[in-house]
Symmetry: C2
Amino acid sequence: MTIKVYGDSISGNCLKVKWVLDRLNLSYDWIETDVTSGSTRTQTFLALNPAGQVPTVVLEDGRVLAQSGAIALYFAENSDLIPADAYDRAKMFEWMFWEQYSHEPYVAVRRFHMRYMGKAAEELDPKLLERGSGALQRMEDALRGGGDWFAGPRLSLADIALVAYTRMAADGGFDLGLYPHIQAWIGRVEGELGLSPYV
Amino acid sequence: MTIKVYGDSISGNCLKVKWVLDRLNLSYDWIETDVTSGSTRTQTFLALNPAGQVPTVVLEDGRVLAQSGAIALYFAENSDLIPADAYDRAKMFEWMFWEQYSHEPYVAVRRFHMRYMGKAAEELDPKLLERGSGALQRMEDALRGGGDWFAGPRLSLADIALVAYTRMAADGGFDLGLYPHIQAWIGRVEGELGLSPYV
């Protein structure tokens, strides 16, 4: 049985899984699952993943995995997407957890409301802009003071986790022009992953 | 140089790190860092961790690590707190990411407002209760349908991550009496970690 990925193509979290699988040359079936229409809340879907979230993956043996970070780690094990050095690897985890806790809930959520729910900036909790901008500034500072990648000497799961919603940040009213190091890094990641610039 | 842990003893995220270090018999200095008084927002602290969050760890060689999950993974590597089986290990990651995204922002945040900010239930966003209860119900269902532990055949980092705020949930107005399997599991985790019941 082929790996099945239940994912919504508009979701950065789902794209992270797609990019990891593509990078590793693993074949899979992508089952487009529209979050906005409630497809993750049906009885059938909840039986697969009681959290009602995408991405959800069904492995070749039928077992199920959820959470983009966990899925990425499972497939990328023993690949160069995970740094060999223990400290670099820990920094990769640090950025992955930080992205889910301190970046995604602001940058991705503001984008979702503005681009997909048709909300105007004035209708939104001002914390989304403030904290999202803070998260982007923190990435800019890290890149200005560091190397080309977030953890270790080459592209890792940290870059993949961080780039997903960062490259889409303009959808949420964030001005990437303020962050030149982030812009250059997005170009590097897109180059590695063979992606066209996000529009 | 001894490992330094900057942590606030009222924070479940910080206690996770303490429990892992204690379990592994690693020695460390605990530097009590009061979140409520702004100690994580000083220039000195931000130079250590620009995210301004605890736990923050300074390793023996002076390098810094943040994010409870990343710190726990760094120290627990090659210990039995990380399941040997690849799928069990992925489930451990799944629960760790899920806890930070779908449990802590509701269960821990409601507790913080009620117990430490002196807020009444009526003043709080009703989503905190609704989603926090949903998270607890999901854990109850997983334990009812599964084994004694969240990932693999024994205590893992998944249990440590999940137990931290779950055992304190009553502080946030959640009734653990509704979740008998969670209550039994909390007892098992506390037994393994040598903790007294939380009051």
